[in-house]
Assembly symmetry: C2
Homo-oligomer: 393 residues x 2
């Protein structure tokens, strides 16, 4: 029943090396035939004949039936993926930006060619959330999916809240440990979790929303006043993407920092770990937890995808392909904490109600309800220095 896979891999970093090691020692009916790398001069730990800089060595080799794509460059990853799928090869990728940006086209190519593109490793490392959304949770019954999708910013927030480190020290440490992307804005600005959220939304609700159309606000404006506020109230701050069905007809998507209390399952998700909260009719809350960032958790998910291809596993995208009436909405009221300097912003944002205001010489905040669409309209003002916005329970 299981078929033998011959693999070609783009990229050879921590994940590639780890995959090679484990495939060698375990009886998995897999063989890695070729690695395509960018830098031919780098010293490699494996025999030289395994490596080449020529993509054709994988893409044009009919013996290679499975392509594993583990490179940073989303544009190159996209080209390799499309070419491989069109020539009948299955692909495993962990590139969330590439998947999120091109998912509609990639779904069509899979349908046309009968190939399979798997990307569990692109969302929340080793946690099998895509599979579970795809297979287990009917969209009619799914109330919301949220969580901690970005190990790097969560690591930084843990260091700040639990060890009183400064934002800059914590960020530097995250980069040293290899949790943070080369450009930290991707993590701390909420772009990385937004890509993942777009992928989650497609498997949760069958909705394909371009990342550019989803609001993301990160933790990069967090300062000592916000941290003091949180500690006084018994909150922790987490960066939380949300996909939520409203009115049985629409889906809201956004990424915002969120103050959460002890009763929230995400409260104890610390450091580079990820957690996903699924609320479904009948089941209340379900929680999936595991390591999110770093080579090994991603490698674990990539390996699970590879082994699933031996049994011809494919996402069916049934929530997308079957008729469904859910549409994307940004008309949704949020409870918001806003630290600000200039009162003009408060008027602009059009709070529908205000429950708490605080003024001091060096610290002003307001808590109240704002519609998501007003936040989107005034995003430039919100992203100015001196302003920090977060959801609050």
């Amino acid at each position: 029943m299981s078929k033998k896979l011959t693999l070609g891999m783009f990229g050879f970093g921590v994940v590639g090396q780890g995959l090679y090691d484990i495939i060698k020692t375990k009886n998995l009916n897999l063989e890695i035939k070729k690695f395509v790398i960018k830098n031919a001069d780098k010293k490699r730990s494996l025999p030289a004949e395994l490596f080449t800089t020529d993509p054709a060595a994988i893409l044009d080799d009919p013996e290679i039936n499975t392509v594993v794509e583990l490179i940073d460059d989303a544009e190159a990853a996209y080209q390799f993926t499309v070419t491989a799928l069109k020539s009948g090869k299955n692909v495993v990728s962990a590139n969330k930006k590439m998947i999120a940006t091109h998912l509609e086209e990639l779904t069509e190519i899979q349908q046309q060619t009968g190939t399979s593109l798997l990307y569990e490793g692109a969302v929340c490392g080793s946690i099998p959330i895509i599979r579970n959304l795809e297979e287990y949770y009917d969209n009619e019954l799914l109330h919301s999916v949220s969580g901690i999708f970005n190990g790097s910013s969560n690591y930084i927030l843990s260091k700040i809240f639990n060890e009183n480190q400064s934002y800059d020290t914590a960020l530097k440490k995250a980069q040293e440990l290899g949790f943070a992307e080369t450009d930290p804005t991707l993590d701390v600005g909420g772009y990385d979790p937004k890509y993942k959220l777009a992928i989650v939304a497609s498997h949760a609700y069958g909705l394909y929303i371009k990342p550019d159309n989803i609001l993301n606000i990160g933790i990069d404006k967090l300062d000592q006043q916000d941290i003091r506020f949180a500690k006084e109230k018994g909150y922790k701050l987490k960066l939380v993407p949300l996909a939520k069905e409203i009115n049985n007809a629409q889906v809201v998507l956004y990424v915002l920092p969120k103050f959460i209390g002890k009763d929230n399952m995400l409260y104890n998700v610390e450091n580079e770990n990820n957690g996903v909260l699924v609320k479904a009719a009948f089941a209340d809350e379900q929680f999936f937890y595991g390591k999110g960032a770093g080579g090994h958790p991603t490698g674990s998910a990539v390996l699970s995808d590879i082994t699933a291809l031996r049994y011809d596993y494919r996402y069916e995208y049934k929530k997308h392909l079957e008729a469904q009436e859910l549409s994307y909405s940004t008309d949704y009221e949020l409870n918001i904490y806003l630290r600000y300097e200039d009162d003009v912003l408060i008027n602009k944002l059009n709070f529908s109600s205000i429950s708490e205001r605080y003024y001091a010489d060096n610290f002003k905040y307001v808590i109240g309800k704002i519609n998501l669409k007003h936040i989107i309209t005034h995003l430039n003002d919100i992203k100015k220095d001196g302003v920090f916005i977060a959801e609050i329970a």
Copy 2:
């Protein structure tokens, strides 16, 4: 792609009523045609023509393509399930004892008839652990599966440890809330989690082990001395089933109470909640959490199984059906806490090492390493009054 299901249900309790309500309000392409019940005289909340006491009304109706079995009686459930599968109907069941006891035969019947038997609701309520073991975790890469599989005994332990309730008070409360089985021994004696463990082992490792051949020791002998011991050391006690691969060749299975510390993900699983810890190569530890006991969580899993049947989902049992060399073993060394009265037991149990001993007038315990096979051999002595045994980290 989705096909319409016409359902016949055996049993109409909390789960049946809840399923009916949700199927009515949601657009799921499902219809419940008939309920078969035991007691014709009970007042029902639905029209009388939906109910009958005659199993043939479901089993002989060719329009009914899906049977949902939600009755307590494992023997009757087995008969209905076999008859339904053999007549080409798919079956959803939440009866762990029935599944665990007859899994080998039920697998064969599914293979022969091309039908599908799903039972996610039989293990850990709403947590989709069977699916994930079946689809996501290759047996070559799976180190262990453990967790809290029994909401009722976990509820009792939470009340004892967090609210200083007595064992008897806590048990009574669990029964009032409907978490505990009619016969509490099934829960507190560790039989219920053992059935679930046998099912988990089959989907994790492809091993079909009869429940009678798996050791289960429960929490029914717990007393004040053990609780004081745990609190002094900063432990909580949990009832923990374990399936673990050893030597790349064998699988160990048992259910034992276990003292665990704060660093264990199961430490914070309280009350009727369930949690499953999966250790896999590369991924470290993954944790699944959700409500375990009660009608709604089970109903949620049953409903997910029903909706999956619209897409012809079936367990492939590939870990069992494909050649695999794992065998069942009871030769495994455990670190054990043993409260005892008679020193003779210590000699009988053949500790390979002892790390801690305590004597007082009314309390004697020893901590040390014992082989699982010695525990099994001397089970009658261990189950005597005055003795409590638990794993300790």
